[in-house]
Point group: C2
Chain length 366, copies 2
C-alpha cells in the first residue's frame, strides 16, 4: 500500500536536510529529480505498465534559470509537510497554489504567478519522494460511481456498503488510499469497469452486480485519477479480475488501456495505478457477428477514427497479436459500435445475454 | 410534484387518440407543439423563472417537410409509453435513440439517422404532455455530490443517509423525482450550493454541514439537470433557503442564476427546476475589503470576462439594482476572485469565518 504518512513526512524532511547539508558544506544547493519528459517514459513489458525511466536532472539554487524554481520546490515541499503534520484537510492543487502565492517581501516578485508553475513541481515532489499526490493529501476531482458487494471504512469513520447506495451508486471519493478508503470486506468475483455512465446506470438499475456478483464501476468516459487508482487497488490487493467494457472504437479501446497500462502523460501515476491484469470484454469486432448486431447500430468510421486506429497500432502496449488483429479487423469492418447501442437488441440484452456469454466463454482481449 | 406515472401514460395515450380521431374523420393528422425557439422564451418577473411562452406550431402528417418528423414523434411517444408500461429501466436519450433507429421495411430509409433528430422530439413530447424527461424515465448524466442531514428512500428500496456518506458525499442520482428519490426526513436549516468540487470537498472534510446544520451540494461547475432539479425540490417542497457560493466572476454569477432562474436553452426545464428563492452568498466585490483579500489572490479580468459582464447586465434576471451595482463594481475593481483562493487566508477560513459571517449578517445578493 505504499508509504505511511510518517514515512512521507520523513522523506520530505530528508529532502530539506540534504539542501541544508549542501549549504553547510558551502556547496551549491541541489535537488535531483527524475525527468518526467516523454523521452524518459517507456512501456515495461515485464510488468505491463507505462513507467518512468531513470534519467534524472539536477536543479540548482545558484543558477539564474533555476533559482526561482528551486525556491518554489522547497516552498511546496515545506507546505505539503506542514499540511500533513497539522492534519489539515486535503486540498486541490489549485488550492495549494493559492496558499503559497504571495508577494516576496522587499521585491515586486510573487512566489508564484500561475498554477502552471506549481503543478509540475508537485509532480517533481511526487517522484522525488516516491508518493502519489493523493498520499500527500492533494486531490483531483473524481468522476466515477461504484456499486456491488464491498464494504469500506471511510476516513470519516462512516462504514460504506456499496450494495445499499441506491440508484446513484456510491461516489468515488477523491482519495482512495487505504487511510481514507479502507476495504473491510469484498465478496465480489470480479470488477466490471464500464466506459459510459448511461450503460453503468442501465446495469445498475437491473442490479447486474447482484446477478453477476461483481463490482460495477464507471469513470464516466476517460477516468479521473481516483477511479484508476481504485481499480488498481481492487486488482492488486484483492486480486479481483478486471473486465473493461467500452465502445468498439479506438477511443473505447484506449480507455481500456488507460485503466490497464496507464497513460504516457502520467507515467509516474500509471506505474502505481495501472491494472495490468485487466482484460477487454468488449464490445469487439467478433461480437458483431456472434450477436447479429443490426446494421442500424453501425456507425461509419471517420478519418479521425482511422487515424487514431493507426496511432493505437503503434503503441507498444497494443502490440500483442490479439490487439493488432482487432485493430485491423475494426478497420476492415469500417464501422464502430457503441456500447449504448446494445439496447437495440433489447433493454435486457447487455445484462442478461451479452455480458454473461462473454464471461462464461472467457471471450476477452488481452 | 407533478404528474403520476399513470397520468403521464394517459397523456401519451390521449396524444395518440387525437391523431386517430383526425384519421377517422378524414382530416390531416396533426400535433400541436409549443415552440421552444428563443422567440418563445421569456423571463417571468412574477415567478422569477425563465419560462416558455404560449406560441405553438402544428406538425402535420400530410406535409412533405413534416411527414417524417410526424412519424418520428409518434414513434418516440409510443416507445416512451411502452417503456413506462413495461416498467423498464430508465434510459439515456442516446439509448432511446438506439432502440428506435431501424430500417423502414421496403425502403432505404431509417426511422432516424442521427440523435439530432430524436433529441428535439423528446423535448417536444416533454412540453406536449407537460412532463420532464426524467418523469418519462429518460436520464442525463448527473455530476454532483451531496452531504448533510437528509434521509432519502431510493427507488431501489435503499435508505440513504447523507450524514454517513464518507469523504465522497452521496452521488446525486440521474433521476431525483419523488418516486426515485423520496425525501423521508430533513432537519437542515438551509442548502449551500457550492460551485466547485474542491471547495465542496474542503467544507465536507471539515463537516461544515454539521456545524452549520445544512445540506452541502456541488454540481461541479455548471450543474447537470439532476442537481438543478434537486435544488428545486429542496427549495420548493422543504422550503429550505438556498445559498449559492461561487467565484466572483461573471461565470460564477451565471451559475448562480442557472440554479435560481434557469437557463434560456432549457426554458421548459427551467420553469420546473429553478429555485427563485435562491440567494447569492458570495464571493462578492464587497467581501474583498471586508475580509482583506490579499492582492496575490486577485486575477485581472480579461476581455472575455468583461464581455460576459456586459451580457449579464442585459439579462432581465440580472436587472435588480443589487446585481447591476455588483456587475458595475466588479468591472470597476477589474479583478476576479476565485472561491478556491480563500485558503490563502487560512485553510479553515471559508468554513469558520467567511460563511458564518455572511450567513449571520445576511449578506446576500438577490
Amino acid at each position: 500500500m505504499g508509504l505511511t504518512e510518517e514515512r512521507l513526512i520523513k522523506n520530505l524532511q530528508t529532502m530539506g536536510k540534504r539542501v541544508l547539508e549542501n549549504i553547510n558544506q558551502g556547496e551549491n544547493p541541489e535537488l535531483e529529480i527524475l525527468t518526467r519528459a516523454l523521452n524518459n517514459v517507456y512501456y515495461d513489458n515485464s510488468t505491463g505498465l507505462i513507467k518512468l525511466g531513470d534519467k534524472s536532472q539536477k536543479r540548482y539554487y545558484f543558477n539564474v534559470n533555476q533559482a526561482k524554481k528551486f525556491m518554489q520546490t522547497l516552498l511546496i515541499a515545506d507546505r505539503i509537510k506542514w499540511l500533513m503534520e497539522q492534519g489539515k484537510p486535503a486540498l486541490s492543487i489549485r488550492q495549494l497554489f493559492y496558499t503559497l502565492k504571495h508577494n516576496i517581501p522587499g521585491s515586486k516578485e510573487n512566489t508564484f504567478d500561475n498554477q502552471d508553475e506549481s503543478d509540475p513541481i508537485i509532480e517533481d515532489i511526487e517522484v522525488m519522494i516516491d508518493a502519489l499526490r493523493e498520499q500527500l493529501k492533494l486531490i483531483a476531482t473524481p468522476k466515477g460511481v461504484l456499486s456491488g458487494p464491498i464494504m469500506v471504512k471511510d476516513k470519516t469513520g462512516d462504514l460504506l456498503d456499496y450494495t445499499k447506495m441506491g440508484s446513484a451508486g456510491g461516489a468515488v471519493p477523491p482519495i482512495v488510499e487505504d487511510d481514507f478508503f479502507h476495504i473491510k470486506e469484498c465478496s465480489a468475483d470480479f470488477i466490471l469497469v464500464v466506459e459510459k455512465f448511461a450503460v453503468w446506470n442501465l446495469l445498475n438499475q437491473q442490479k447486474y452486480w447482484k446477478d453477476a456478483n461483481c463490482l460495477l464501476l464507471t469513470g464516466k468516459g476517460q477516468p479521473a485519477r481516483a477511479e484508476r487508482r481504485l481499480v488498481n487497488r481492487l486488482s492488486t490487493e484483492l486480486k479481483l479480475p478486471v473486465y473493461v467494457f467500452a465502445d468498439m472504437d479506438p477511443w473505447g479501446y484506449y480507455i481500456y488501456s488507460v485503466y490497464k497500462q496507464g497513460s504516457i502523460n502520467l507515467a509516474f501515476f500509471s506505474e502505481k495505478s495501472g491494472a495490468p491484469q485487466a482484460k477487454y470484454i468488449g464490445f469487439m469486432t467478433k461480437d458483431v457477428k456472434t450477436f447479429d448486431i443490426p446494421k442500424s447500430s453501425h456507425i461509419k468510421l471517420e478519418n479521425v477514427d482511422l487515424k487514431r486506429i493507426e496511432e493505437l497500432k503503434n503503441y507498444d502496449w497494443f502490440k500483442t497479436k490479439e490487439w493488432q488483429d482487432e485493430l485491423k479487423s475494426l478497420k476492415d469492418f469500417g464501422n464502430k459500435i457503441e456500447q449504448d447501442s446494445l439496447v437495440a437488441k433489447s433493454i435486457e440484452f447487455t445484462a442478461k445475454e451479452y455480458l454473461p456469454y462473454k464471461i462464461e466463454n472467457k471471450e476477452f482481449l488481452n
